[in-house]
């Protein structure tokens, strides 16, 4: 028995619907990654009692390491700065994937000159650990000037690595979503381009569907699944948190209903005036 093949229009509608939801999920999550990264550096500063902590991520477009977030009074000026990936301690840790801890840094006045000059902060000690995903190093977490002790231990390095792992997981989740949205967008573009060419349509559609389904099967962390996962996790939240989320969802629902009603009114608006006057 041959399964009934979906029409190109149906496939296109399906893919468009998925793309829309992936994009919606991405927008909902948009500030989420930044918030997680900020909370990671804030927790790092608090736990290490450090002067500053920062996360720099590699930007493939510019080929540079960009300081994305920082915590601690002396950390803020670093945000937005970028360095070459072979420069300084962050560059070394990024390129080699090796965690380092350095103290007595003031022994070398040339150390970190460029960044130090821009931030007017020359740290005495640094812990730097790589942010890793399955493909390699994606960035670096730094802890500057742990106040409690001048000496740094392996335990400090390993604890910093635990925080780096939290950041990596958040970044990975956001990238999976972005990749899914990109894939769907390119698939839709191909579909639109090929629609005019009926001869190859069936094979093209089959390939498109296979690709779309395969990507959904792989993407357990991706957009819609991630939303479902987040909702599922709320089962473990305390009543106050559940209440807050419920209120937020109710606000969203009301807005959605209102905007749907507004659209209906707008559509009917052109035909409606006749009735009251009748």
């Amino acid at each position: 028995m041959t399964p009934r093949r979906p029409s190109p229009a149906a496939v296109e509608r399906l893919l468009a619907a998925i793309a829309l939801r992936a994009e919606a999920a991405r927008r909902l999550e948009g500030s989420g990654v930044g918030a997680v990264l900020r909370s990671v550096v804030e927790a790092t500063v608090a736990l290490f009692e450090a002067e500053a902590s920062s996360i720099a991520l590699f930007d493939p477009a510019t080929g540079r390491l960009v300081f994305e977030v920082a915590a601690g009074e002396k950390g803020q000026p670093v945000v937005g700065l970028s360095i070459a990936p072979d420069q300084g301690i962050a560059g070394y840790v990024f390129t080699t994937g090796q965690a380092l801890a350095l103290s007595d840094v003031e022994h070398d006045p040339r150390f970190g000159r460029e960044v130090a000059a821009k931030t007017a902060f020359l740290p005495r000690s640094i812990i730097a650990v790589p942010l890793l995903d399955e493909r390699g190093t994606i960035g670096v977490l730094e802890v500057l000037d742990k106040r409690t002790s001048a000496a740094l231990s392996l335990r400090d390095v390993e604890l910093a690595a635990v925080f780096a792992r939290q950041a990596s997981v958040a970044i990975r989740a956001s990238r999976v979503e972005r990749d899914l949205a990109t894939l769907l967008a390119s698939t839709l573009r191909e579909l639109a381009a090929d629609a005019a060419d009926a001869a190859d349509n069936r094979a093209t559609i089959e390939a498109l569907v296979a690709r779309a389904v395969a990507s959904l099967g792989e993407g357990e962390d991706a957009g819609p699944w991630r939303l479902a996962d987040l909702v599922a996790r709320l089962r473990d939240a305390d009543p106050a948190q559940v209440g807050l989320v419920t209120e937020l969802l109710e606000v969203l629902e009301r807005r959605a209903v209102r905007s749907a009603r507004a659209r209906r009114v707008a559509r009917g608006g052109r035909a409606a005036p006749a009735a009251p006057e009748a």
Partner: protein, 269 residues
């Protein structure tokens, strides 16, 4: 904090945990006197694949005899002469200083694999390692590794080639679980840090993945610009073992990599 389960491959070598390490049964006639004697590294070349080595740094003792840099070309990495030697970070000079302190007569070759271009860094590391093997370095210190599965084959082939060419690879362990090549291969000497201040204290761990623990906490090291620094990390433990291996190869020029490893294990403590 102490309740956290940390990804600590140095853990077997830290504090009280060392009492759990199994000692090898003593091999008759193999003690530190017979293994090291009064060796000073004469006749041994140690390659350091890192951020470069500052040849003029006092801690390197003028023993830097060659210096190359590896950079990505149009398609393949290119190895070129690096003049008198420069260090873009300070880390390679730190490793050279540790090795020179243990094996002062050993010659040092610097292979600089950190460049401003992040593209193809696995390929650049591999090309640097291949070059060091072709030069016939007796010992290669690698405080870096690749986490990319795409380079498993490349590094595996190079590790085997090194082994059969009588080149000992000494690799710093990564503190994070997951792939790390070539440091996880059986033919290399993988090293994590212990927290004793003694460069002549090292430990053998028969439980993979990391076989040796050496000094790597609060080590005063050379740094770029003729500077010095106090540093912690597995990448400072590796050159301690590389220095000891240089001494062994200096005293026993004809032995193979597995015999060096055996001697290091037999004299650990």
């Amino acid at each position: 904090m102490s309740d956290l389960t940390l990804p600590a491959w140095s853990e077997p070598f830290i504090g009280d945990n060392r009492s759990d390490l199994t000692r090898l049964r003593p091999i008759p006639g193999l003690d530190r006197a017979s293994v090291f004697g009064d060796a000073d590294g004469t006749g041994v070349r140690v390659a350091i694949i890192d951020s470069g080595v500052e040849g003029a740094h006092p801690d390197v003792g003028g023993r830097l005899v060659a210096s190359v840099r590896v950079e990505m070309g149009e398609e393949d990495p290119i190895v070129s002469d690096d003049g008198e030697g420069q260090d873009v970070v300070g880390h390679g000079t730190a490793c050279a200083g540790i090795i020179h302190a243990l094996a002062p007569a050993a010659e040092i070759i610097s292979v600089r694999v950190l460049g401003p271009d992040n593209r193809g860094k696995g390929a650049v590391f591999a090309a640097g390692l291949e070059w060091a093997i072709e030069q016939g370095a007796s010992v290669v210190n690698l405080s870096l590794s690749s986490r990319s599965d795409a380079f498993f084959d490349v590094f595996h082939e190079l590790a085997d080639r090194a082994y059969f060419a009588n080149v000992l690879l000494v690799c710093a362990a990564n503190n994070v679980p997951g792939p790390s090549y070539p440091s996880l291969f059986a033919s290399v000497v993988s090293v994590a840090a212990h927290d004793l201040a003694d460069p002549w204290a090292w430990f053998y761990n028969p439980n993979p993945p990391v076989e040796f623990g050496a000094r790597g906490v609060d080590v005063e090291v050379a740094w770029k610009g003729g500077g010095r620094m106090v540093a912690t990390g597995n990448s400072f433990a590796a050159p301690h073992i590389a220095g000891l291996a240089a001494l062994i190869r200096s005293r026993h020029p004809d032995i193979s990599p597995f015999e060096v490893k055996t001697m290091l294990a037999a004299t650990a403590g």
